[in-house]
């Protein structure tokens, strides 16, 4: 049986992180699994968890009246979602719903924030890992906006 | 009982107008040619332009007869400057005018007027039954356009005319292909006169006052005195003394009339022909007689024959000009601007076209006045309707309307031109 610490250490998000920090973080971690089609969180709810996907896929969605539900990103093994945990107002800005049976490590947001406050080096290390994810998503978002595969008007 | 014959949009005329004929108790009470073509204010924006710009600007008054506008303008402006052109350049101007007459007359004969006689909605429809006839017309028209293209650069709004001459004078040898085409055109024009003579015409005549230019030797294009069959014989300088324009509510064009009597008069092919038969080439005279025309023609429906005769003359004249052409040393006379006032009248295809300009000393146009043939003929058109339609009142509604239209089309009215007119600072209330 794999420990939570091992699970975290094996996840690309934590790759190379000081083992003591992994130990600290694992204190906030839970092993979770979801059935296919299950909602993990809803837009507007408190962002109380940060997820590290180990297996399966999760669709991040926004729905709009009259336009249905749109998936703007899918997150798979080795990827994360729920980075809203780090910044106020700590609320989900999308729905997350599994595409298939999904295993993940869930980190309790309040717990993690407290540990980061107490241990700024941990906070800085985690922030450095969250930022590239943000930048990459922002960039992906820009290219999606370009509608590259669409027909120029 | 009052009955109104209305044509909302006159077809097969240049520009947009309609007509309204009011009939009361079996008598035509009034006829109005309504011109609702929007005004374009040429005389207003000619003010402040340099005199050298006038030929290009006035051409835009009318896409059908731009050369006529250019010719009247350059002559008026040259008169101010006391410029006389060399015989070669003068001949080129005459040639250019020939091109416009041919193009404009043939368009009217075949595409606009003939369908009235043969019972078609238009020339294109007529071509389905009379293909060879229409094709002959189109090719003849094309020869006119070829003259305009060659000498003017293009058929609509030619670019080669300037005050003082031309921007470029052609070389003698460049005329060869055109001359070949004109030889064909002479035969086609002759055939056109013969064919026009075979049409059936309503026997309607009026005792018009004809007004046209008359020149010592030539059938008039660019120059001559303004004469009438009632003894008028004046220079263009005195035009304003004898003619005036009034503004009527139904029209964005102005009506012209004799200043002293208020009487209507007629300009255009019938007037020109009747006043200048003796100046036609022998070929044209002979063809006219063979087609049943007298030396004077008062039946406006027969204007189609007269146009054909003038077309033949223009082809003949073009060939003569080309034959006699010698390359000028310079394509234009340079002009130093001076202050002054001048006017000129030339013979547009539709008749007398009068221009008057006043220039500042730097050549800026201070004032411009333009009187196109169609506004001069408006009163006459309305009188024709009143007089002739009375004899057609038994016709069914649609046929009567058609006859009204034909009566207007006899004039080949150019409404686009007619609306660009003007009258300066005169309020006759």
């Amino acid at each position: 049986m794999e420990t939570l610490e091992q699970m975290l250490g094996a996840h690309p998000f934590f790759a190379g992180l000081d083992p003591s920090f992994i130990g600290l973080a694992s204190g906030c971690a839970h092993d979770v699994s979801f059935a296919a089609g299950e909602f993990i969180c809803h837009e507007g709810d408190a962002a109380d968890r940060f997820y590290l996907v180990r297996e399966g896929h999760v669709a991040l969605q926004i729905s709009a009246p009259g336009r249905g539900v749109a998936t703007f990103l899918t997150v798979g093994p080795g990827e994360v979602f729920g980075i809203n945990w780090l910044a106020p107002p700590y609320r989900w800005s999308y729905d997350a719903r599994t595409v298939e049976k999904t295993h993940a490590v869930a980190l309790d947001a309040t717990c993690l924030r407290v540990k980061c406050e107490n241990e700024p080096a941990l906070g800085y290390a985690l922030t450095k890992r969250v930022l590239p994810v943000l930048i990459e998503r922002l960039h992906a978002c820009r290219t999606q906006l370009l509608d590259l595969y669409g027909v120029p008007s | 009982m009052t009955k109104t014959v209305k044509v909302d949009v006159l077809a097969r005329v240049e520009g947009e107008g309609g007509l309204k004929v009011t009939i009361r108790d079996g008598v035509v009470r009034s006829a109005e040619l309504n011109i609702f073509e929007p005004p374009r204010f040429f005389e207003a924006f000619l003010r402040g332009r340099d005199f050298s710009e006038a030929p290009d600007i006035v051409a835009r008054i009318c896409g059908i007869c731009p050369v006529a506008y250019q010719m009247s303008a350059v002559h008026a402006l040259e008169n101010i400057h006391g410029v006389t052109l060399s015989p070669q350049l003068r001949a080129l101007r005459r040639l250019l005018y020939c091109g416009e007459w041919i193009e404009s007359h043939v368009l009217h004969i075949y595409m606009l007027h003939a369908p009235d006689f043969l019972g078609y909605a238009g020339g294109v429809e007529m071509a389905r039954d009379h293909g060879d006839l229409v094709r002959q017309g189109l090719q003849l028209k094309k020869v006119g356009n070829e003259i305009l293209n060659f000498l003017g650069g293009r058929e609509i709004h030619p670019i080669n005319v300037r005050v003082g001459g031309f921007h470029r004078a052609p070389r003698k040898k460049e005329f060869a292909p055109l001359a070949e085409r004109l030889k064909w055109a002479r035969d086609a024009a002759l055939a056109t006169v013969h064919w026009a003579g075979t049409l059936e015409f309503p026997e309607r005549e009026r005792d018009y006052t004809f007004v046209a230019l008359r020149h010592d030797q030539e059938y008039p294009f660019n120059e001559g005195r303004i004469v009438s069959n009632r003894g008028l014989d004046i220079s263009a300088d005195d035009y304003d003394k004898h003619f005036e324009e009034i503004h009527v509510p139904q029209s964005t064009a102005l009506h012209s009339r004799f200043r002293d009597t208020g009487a209507a008069y007629l300009v255009g092919p019938l007037a020109r022909y009747s006043l200048n038969f003796d100046r036609l080439s022998p070929l044209a005279q002979e063809a006219a007689r063979a087609a049943g025309l007298e030396r004077t023609c008062r039946n406006p429906y027969r204007s189609i024959i007269v146009r054909a005769v003038e077309t033949l003359y223009a082809v003949d004249e073009a060939l003569r000009v080309i034959e006699a052409y010698e390359e000028p040393d310079r394509s234009f006379v340079a002009i130093e601007p001076r202050k002054g006032e001048g006017c000129a009248a030339t013979e547009a295809p539709r008749g007398l076209l009068y221009h008057r300009y006043r220039l500042e000393k730097d050549g800026t146009i201070a004032e411009a006045q333009i009187v196109p043939p169609t506004s001069q003929n408006q009163a006459s058109v309305e009188e024709d309707l009143v007089e002739f339609i009375g004899g057609f009142l038994d016709l069914p509604e649609e046929a009567l309307r058609h006859r009204c239209e034909q009566t207007v089309r006899n004039y080949d009215p150019c409404i686009s031109c007619a609306t660009h007119f003007l009258r300066l600072d005169i309020d006759r209330g």
Binding site: - | E14, G15, A44, V124, A127, V134, R154
Partner: protein
Amino acid sequence: MTGRHKRPRLAVWKFASCDGCQLSLLDCEDEILALAEAVDIAYFPEATRSEISGHYDISLVEGSITTAHDAVRIQEVRRRSTKLIVIGACATSGGIQALRNFSDVKEYTRIVYARPDYIETLATSTPISDHVRVDFELRGCPINKHQLVEVLGAFLVGRRPATPAHSVCVECKLKGNACVMVAHDAPCLGPVTHAGCGALCPSYNRGCYGCFGPKETPNAPALSAKLSELGMDQRALARLYSTFNANADAFRQESERHDQDGQG
């Protein structure tokens, strides 16, 4: 005999203009009968009394909008037309009558008409595209009839019309002309003017006067600098750009730039 199942309906409409552009159609002596085979000429008052009302596949529109009535009428034309092609400088930029846009139209009316009260007109002359969506603009004062045939042929087969938006200079050089501005100091708008005329004026030893309006990406200020070197003063420059396409953006702006005293 055409390969097409149903002949498209063509209509020709006139607004404020000299008639020259629609006359171009009748000046297509070699093509007009073929055109009548290829399309139903459903509305063309200058050529025929017959009129098929209803919807038109292609409408050719000549002229600019200068009256309130015409501003309404063009909406109707648009509604009844699948493709609306505007032809000529009046329709594409407002034409020479757009000179009123820079003056007092009441004054103009007073100058021209004895009874200004009989005249209804708008203060401006505007292109068709200011009022309705247009599918194609064919430039020129007047249009080139060969380009008109090309545009009609192109629309009939679904081709992009070959009416290049580059300078007149390209046509001038294709013709083998020497530059009249370089060789003869003739002021020429060719470098900023839309091609289509076949470089007519330079072929007749005169500078282009811009009757096809501004070309793509025109650099009028750079040309004006050259023209000033050739001796044109501010007033002459203002007038040069202010003729048959006076209301076209690039020409209007350049004209206004030189028309400090409003004397253009």
